[in-house]
Amino acid sequence: MRKKVLRNSIFIAYLAIAPLHLVHAESDKPKTTVYANYNDDFRINLSQLFIPVINSIKVLNADTGEETYLRAPDDYEIKVIGKADDMYEISIMKNGQPLEGNFLTDPQNVKKGVNWGAVKTIVNNLDEIRKGLVFEKICDAVPVVPTQDDHTPTPQAGRRGAREESLSGLIPDTYVPPSEGEFHEGCEVLAVQPINEEDSDKLTQCVSSIQTAISSGNRNANGELNREKVFKAMFSKLKPEEQAFAGYIFTAFGESDMWVSKENPEEAMFVMKVLQNRKRMALDQGANEPYNVLDVALDPWQFSTYNANDPNWKNAIDPLKNNDYSGIVEAFRRMTDPELSSWEPADQMDNVSHYRRDYLSDPWPSSSNQRVRVRPSVNGVDPRSDSSTRSGSVGPSGYNYIYTNVDGPKHWIYTESTRGNWR
């Protein structure tokens, strides 16, 4: 209980001393904020803190539709994370551990269930807090700063210089797995980022090693890759850093145009940016770890390259195709270095979650979600532009329309149950 009170003290103190910061955070990341009026002069942002449950309350498990009770003696805490119709969406902790799932409850339950007495005690101390007596402690504990993805190189990848070759004359699999815990050949450079230009050859070697690893033993009698087996092998045979790398490289290869090159990797970088954004959005929405860019890439139907009847996933993954990955690898390398991947407009680009080819009918009506169409640039180059990188020609696979807010303020709504079962 002391721990809980301390944690809540910190949150409430944070609210008291940093209201301007909070307003700023809300404008950066629009979402409904739920307040409770403590009295006429003071309101509490319920979206910011877990509050102990001291009276048993009824909640709805939105994954099953079943109602359940949070019994007061069982050490529950709840936090309001949004609204749905006339209900609150809540997160629940039991014994200090988050409960999996999605939950709803009536606002009245929040009012009657939580420990307002504890809150009151804290509020009574606000004057001291405002004087800065616990300022250092608060600063240590409260701000949640998004961390750079360790092994996920920042987004974008270059495009292939595809040299498709016949599958005739199949070579036998010669895959030798690395020792446990070791990287596949060439992939060791993924461990430290940003990646230097001198290591580009290593990255190319890593692509090749990964292709061999995930295709080995996963062909049918005709020598064609088995989609389900290959997708599963991407998780089972690769280290997390290699999984993310594979997600970036193969998606960018399949999704971007053939003009992507080492000199002009921008379109591939754009695809990687979308992957990177979606990963962050999914984690923000509670995607269960381990979750990385490969999960994002292989999420069914999202990136058309990976559709079962689309030949591009095989083109991207099959080592027998002998593709030129130099442009894609360069895009990946640049994405690991913030100085080589400067996006404009920066605020919009961090929220881009969807794109589609221009020849497709618009599947995401903008009326209800305030969808925004973005015109991006990276390092001053429009990644969609034909004129800057393709001598004014328009690619046969079209031009991308790029969006934020397709699913409202969350941009892209991550759902566990529609995620692929490849792990």
């Binding site: 979402k31 409904t32 709805l60 939105a62 994954d63 099953t64 539709g65 079943e66 994370i81 949004g82 609204k83 749905a84 119709d85 209900m87 969406e89 999605n102 709803l104 389900e228 997708f231 599963k232 999704e255 929405q285 069914p300 139907w301 999202q302 990136f303 058309s304 390259t305 559709n307 079962a308 009847n309 689309d310 969807h354 794109y355 589609r356 080819r357 497709l360 009918s361 599947p363 995401w364 009506p365 209800s368 979600n369 696979s397 079209g398 991308n400 397709v406 699913d407 409202g408 303020p409 969350k410 892209w412 709504i413 759902t415 149950s417 529609t418 995620r419 692929g420 079962n421 490849w422």
Partner: protein, 148 residues
């Protein structure tokens, strides 16, 4: 007095019967947009809600289906959004609901439709021995629902 009791019984039965059949029309269902996702709500004096899925964009209720193999259940079909970059696919899913028990049983992939009219790998539904097994090769998933 007997008459009054009889009328009361009739009214009560009538209300009970009404409650059990609530949900059979698509207008009995509504999609609610929350801050953290979408929900299917049964518009009932005692509403029921369940979180539903989208692969991109807002879901919409399409129709309520009944199936011979599961006479006590209804299948609330909803459009579960669209996704894709060079090939747009719209997903349709079905929330399985047990009318008598007033209970959600599951949320299953039903079909996929290509905007460009291409062939798309479809989920398979198989009813057997009081169970429904749904396999979806696009996501590698397999789900079994007990219908008894």
């Amino acid at each position: 007095m007997k008459k009054l009791a009889f009328i009361t019984l009739l009214i009560s039965l009538s209300f009970n019967s009404y409650a059990r059949t609530y949900g059979e029309r698509s207008s009995d269902w509504k999609v609610i947009k929350g801050d953290n996702g979408y929900y299917l709500k049964k518009l009932d004096p005692e509403p029921k809600m369940i979180k539903i899925q989208t692969i991109g964009g807002s879901p919409e209720v399409q129709e309520v289906q009944k199936k011979e193999e599961a006479p006590e259940h209804i299948f609330v079909v909803y459009k579960a959004g669209s996704a894709g970059t060079s090939h747009i696919v719209t997903a349709y899913r079905a929330v399985v609901f047990h009318l008598k028990d007033n209970k959600f049983i599951g949320d299953l992939p039903l079909k996929y439709v290509s905007q460009q009219g291409k062939d798309v790998t479809q989920p398979t539904w198989k009813f057997s021995m009081g169970k429904l097994v749904v396999k979806d090769p696009s996501s590698g998933s397999e789900k079994t629902i007990d219908l008894r």
